[in-house]
Symmetry: C2
Subunit: 332 residues, 2 copies
């Protein structure tokens, strides 16, 4: 007899297997093999990354040194891009020496020096394509590439995340922004060279025709923010919670701020209006009847910082537990 | 030679020892011994709870079964209040059987039944005093107490958290709200009986003259939200981060949504305007000069969900590490 979801300690992070499989195959159909470099920051789970590898993807994107270490540790280190600037590369040296291929984003002389000092052999020049976060100006990319080569590093190409575009609701508007951003990235690429033009995310996975690889992560689990777009991916992850109190006009479930990333606002609850969230409480107004002890599904607004609160992903076939996956890439 | 903060992997949760000591003694001076029931949800750290015990507090408040288990496990189980409704009390039975004293909040026939079924012997009747979250109406408290006694439970008294009052900026307004709330709690207490009237938080620790014990948690580490009030407690906790990119008019540090509770908004950075936060990025406009590789202190807006992201508290004397504390009460 399989463990039932009703037996779990709540709140619990649950992923519906069938929805996950659908998301993996929908993405692989459009972005097969190395045309997708799945971003593991969205799920922080090597068991899930293994499924992405089974779906044909051999290269991965990471956001932290810990993610690189963890992925290399389970044998998924064939081609890891740490798509972020890192000043402390000490631990990356051991990962490289153990045989993993690690490529690091750099956008300044300081991060180039840190990469060289840290024993990383390969870099991408990170270019600001309009997000206004990290990344050099397109016109500076060539000079940085020369500096990286002079420091003994191999420059594989460029990276430029159009994060200001991927969440735009209207598809035509989104496409315009993506194209404008990629024009800037190509300008930088002309000066940098190399075979890699890395960009994109879940919202631009099929719109971005320029990138040689797309760094999508959220597509595999999704959240309510991405669900508002016209994407073929299903919301596969929710927090299973228990109703602990009911009043005349609202109810309270045991899923609060320590189980949910809140930067994109309140989560959704089916057939209910969500009112407030506190450390261990979610207050909502159910449209129907709800009783103390009932289970509710809470759909996070932003999947990445939600997953980072949980130690375990409970993989479900409907109401029964199919697998238990550690969220083993947390921390830094 | 002591480890220096500059050697830490960032982002890292740092607590300044001197500020922590100041907060412990300022609180113990006003609320000595059992007149404070420190809430461990704010720090989730038994090493810090041990210091609260050394400061004279023998009783503790918890928000989750995990917190109760962890506190009992380190010998701090003399009198633990789980100040929340819980439907799944299975693990509380073992904690009680191992000798800890556990009191549970109840606000419905269902949560009373769960307590009795789970082997918990003592309860408080949780009363809604205006927060509108959990808790019964004051007029229903007597009836619930009778039901609890009929189920074989000992009713130690009442609990009513004036959470709608504790964050009010104006002290006089706050006092009025606290008093109104406590009038309701006393009404309930008349019908319930028992020696415990448990209420309060950091914002009302000295204003609440009715509660026999105050459930303050945030006072010990503080955050930018509570720092806006007229409290004698210092901001003792910050996230140490590293600048990874600088541009003409802003800089980016490696402290993002997975290191910060975001429900109360953006964190603060000294001498800077904080602009945006992403998964692993904090974008800010420094008033002075900032270079790649510099350390910055990031002050969280809400301490509880911030601590819950971290495995470790680095306790510091200025720039050197004095102690390393596991955040061992995370999860559920």
């Amino acid at each position: 007899m399989k463990k039932q979801l009703s037996e779990l300690t709540t709140p619990a992070l649950v992923v519906q297997w069938s929805d996950l499989m659908q998301n993996l195959s929908a993405m692989a159909a459009v972005r097969p093999r190395d045309r997708l470099r799945p971003h593991v920051k969205a799920h922080k789970c090597t068991a899930l990354a293994c499924l992405q590898a089974e779906a044909g993807h051999r290269t991965f994107t990471c956001a932290t040194v810990r993610e690189v270490e963890g992925m290399a540790g389970v044998g998924l280190g064939a081609d890891l891009l740490l798509a972020n600037e890192v000043m402390d590369c000490r631990r990356l040296r051991s990962v490289c020496e153990a045989g993993a291929r690690v490529t690091l984003a750099v956008d300044s002389p300081e991060t180039i020096a840190a990469a060289a000092r840290g024993g990383v052999q390969e870099v991408l020049i990170d270019v600001d394509v309009g997000l206004r976060r990290c990344g050099c100006a397109p016109a500076e990319a060539g000079e940085l590439a020369a500096a990286a080569r002079a420091a003994g590093l191999d420059v594989r190409g460029v990276m430029g995340y159009e994060g200001h575009a991927v969440g735009v609701a209207d598809r035509a508007d989104r496409a315009l922004l993506v194209n404008a951003a990629m024009k800037e990235l190509l300008e930088a690429h002309r000066d940098v060279g190399g075979e890699v033009v890395s960009a994109g995310g879940t919202g631009s996975y099929d719109l971005n025709k320029v990138a040689t690889e797309i760094q999508a992560g959220s597509y595999v689990l999704m959240d309510t923010a991405y669900a508002k777009l016209d994407l073929p991916f299903r919301q596969a992850a929710y927090i299973l919670a228990t109703v602990i109190s009911t009043q005349r006009d609202y109810a309270v479930a045991n899923c609060g701020l320590k189980a949910l990333g809140m930067d994109k606002g309140l989560p959704d609850v089916e057939d209910a209006e969500v009112l407030r969230c506190a450390d261990e409480h979610l207050k909502f107004r159910p449209y129907g009847s709800v009783r103390v002890g009932d289970s509710v599904r809470v759909w996070p607004a932003h999947i990445d910082p939600t997953v980072a609160y949980h130690t375990t992903i409970w993989v479900a076939d409907d109401d029964s537990v199919r697998a238990i996956w550690p969220v083993d890439l947390r921390g830094w």
